[in-house]
């Protein structure tokens, strides 16, 4: 197996990661703005602060790789290529949404880019990801599957059953823990016994890697190495990507349970401007180039929000459709 260094991102890759980071960042800012404005009411789990993880990960993935993600997963999905217009239409509960308005923010799905499941139940990405990995194995493709989940989710039974099965079956699944150090209001220490979640990999005899998820190059290396391992048929990897969520658990959370200095330190180290400055400093892009990228993103989001708000709500008949393949009688 190659060492992580073999997976060093080049400049083009870093720029591509930044493009995704900028998109994720702008979209989260917009989502909170739209909620505050009252234009869309939704239960929203901000991922602000965690953008680098999926941006770097997805740069190591292909479109036909699969993703299973969670309620706090819009960053994962956007990075994987979820189209903005049908995302926003779904958030707004419109008939034009990816799920016709039936799923909502916690159940976004877009198989065309491999975004197969979004779940609101802690831990439940992992068992399903294994099935997608089994399918890839049977298909004889080198597709990989990513299951993302939080630090808190590493304590639930589904985590254990899934990592064990993936290891025994040598499935091409990457278990990506986004360790933002809180599970709702509970600190890492109050819920999690392991010194670090990556330690749990030993119990499945698979690699366990802890990485600074806010460091684009480090995150890319870890992801690319796990992807290479999975594509080669060598089995699953557990990645623990360290990060922090800036906006509390759910929109409106006053987050009094977060020590003030901890939060201040994390926000002072905001990975988005830091990455941006780094690109300029390293001569990978100019301020103007990045600003142009960002402006383009804002325009796309504008259009998507407008599309969503102009779209119709679903007919109540939809309650009878998609329960089964065949429509249910009225």
């Amino acid at each position: 197996m190659a060492t992580p260094d073999a997976f060093e991102p080049d400049s083009a890759t870093l720029l591509e990661i930044y493009r995704r980071v900028a998109l994720l960042h702008a979209n989260d800012e917009r989502a909170r703005k739209v909620i505050r404005s009252g234009q869309i009411a939704m239960v929203y789990y901000s991922y602000r602060g965690q953008e680098v993880i999926p941006a770097a990960l997805s740069a190591a993935l292909r479109d036909d790789d699969y993703l299973c993600t969670i309620y706090r997963g819009i960053h994962d999905m956007l990075a994987k290529g979820f189209p903005l217009d049908i995302l926003w239409a779904e958030l707004a509960g419109r008939a034009t949404g990816s799920c016709k308005g039936k799923g909502g923010p916690m159940h976004l799905t877009y198989p065309e880019k491999g975004i197969m499941v979004t779940t609101g139940v802690v831990g439940s990405t992992m068992p399903i990801a294994n099935g997608l990995g089994w399918a890839a194995q049977l298909d004889g493709t080198d597709r990989v599957v990513v299951a993302t989940f939080g630090d808190g989710a590493s304590n639930i039974g589904a985590f254990h059953e899934s990592l064990n099965l993936a290891a025994v079956w040598k499935l091409p699944v990457i278990f990506l823990c986004q360790n933002n150090q809180f599970a709702e209001h509970t600190t890492y220490e109050a819920g999690t016994s392991a010194k670090q979640i990556a330690d749990r990999a030993q119990g499945y005899n698979i690699p366990g890697v802890r990485v600074d998820g806010n460091d684009p190059a480090a995150m890319y290396r870890a992801a690319a190495q796990a992807v290479a391992r999975a594509r080669a048929g060598e089995g699953p990897t557990l990645i623990e990507a360290m990060t922090f969520r800036f906006m509390g658990h759910v929109f409106g959370d006053p987050d009094a349970y977060i020590p003030k200095d901890m939060k201040a330190a994390a926000m002072a180290d905001d990975p988005v401007p830091k990455f941006r400055a780094r690109l300029i400093q390293d001569g990978i892009a100019t301020d103007d180039q990045l600003s142009a990228i960002e402006a383009g993103i804002e325009a796309q989001i504008d259009a998507a929000v407008a599309f969503a708000l102009a779209s119709p709500f679903p007919e109540t008949d939809e309650l009878r459709r998609d329960v089964f393949a065949e429509e249910i009688a009225a």
Binding site: A41, M42, V43, E90, G93, R94, A95, G97, C99, K100, G101, K102, G103, G104, P105, M106, H107, T119, G120, V121, V122, G123, G152, A153, N155, I156, G157, A158, A183, E184, H185, T186, A190, G191, T192, A256, Y257, F313, P314, T316, E318, L319, R320, D322, V323, I328
Partner: protein, 345 residues
Amino acid sequence: MSETSTAPAAAKPATPKPPTTTILAGLSKALMDAFAEDDKLLALGEDLADPEGGGIVGVTNGLSTRFGGQRVRSTPIAEQAIIGAAIGASLVGYKPVAEIMLMNFTTVAMDMIVNHAAKLRFMSGGQTSVPIVIRTMTGLGYGSGGQHCDYLEAWFAHTPGIKVVAPSTPQDAYGLLRSAIEDPDPVLFIENLPTYRTPMPGELPDAGHRVPLGKAAVQREGTDVTVVSYSRLAGEARAAAELAAAEGVSVEVIDLRTISPWDRETVLASARKTGRVLIVHEAVKAFGAGAEIAAVVGEELFGQLKAPVRRLGGAYSAVPYSKPLESAYAPDRARIAAAILALAR
């Protein structure tokens, strides 16, 4: 209160606003009072203690500060471990109140609840017992979609050995929770999330207040139609009864309060009187708790009813996200009133 005290002296005397309180307050007080009376009480669940904010909605706010972090403990996200810990402690003299944050998450703890909590007394031939309360919240109305607001009471009502309770008023929330805690057997206690903070008439009861398990409340008397409901929809049924009254139909509203064992006597007595029964719940109608009630009413009062027993319930689908669909999913006061009028016709 502030209204009367700040009213200008010259104004005509303000009619005192009738007091209101909330289900959330009723539950919190019930826990506080019960913990103060019995030091064998324990509480556990995710984010339940004060360092974690005293519960995600605040029902247990202050409890750990007052009674200590050993008795009131936040847990990892591990519902099997939560219920298991409650069962274990209850086997040797403690009375744990376990919280499963949302009812849909009982799905990861069903083995502990159904195969263990509900059965250990029987399987041990009465040597052990499991006096636990499992508090859980649910209910649609806030756009949480398919995995966060199911009413699954029918599963537990179908499980011998566990009781199922669901209040619809602050006073009942208090009195039922106190009784559930005092009950020698496991009780599943279902709380409606969207109405936690809805102001409701009356004051918080004092510490002696109990509502016995298994006893329904006739919340409104009437002669034409009996509506049987529980949890949030009991409130909608009361509102529907007023709408129907305006159309000249006299409705008796029964809030079951306990779904298992349910109060057959009260329901059958009312059905005998009115001859027309409508059962209403937010859970999926098909194979819901209402079916059992309809089956028993139909069997016991065969030939004595004036109309078929009707049921209203949730649609046969997952709960949808989009607001218009979510609103159409479950019965509301208008649909209940329409069903009442159709029955009375």
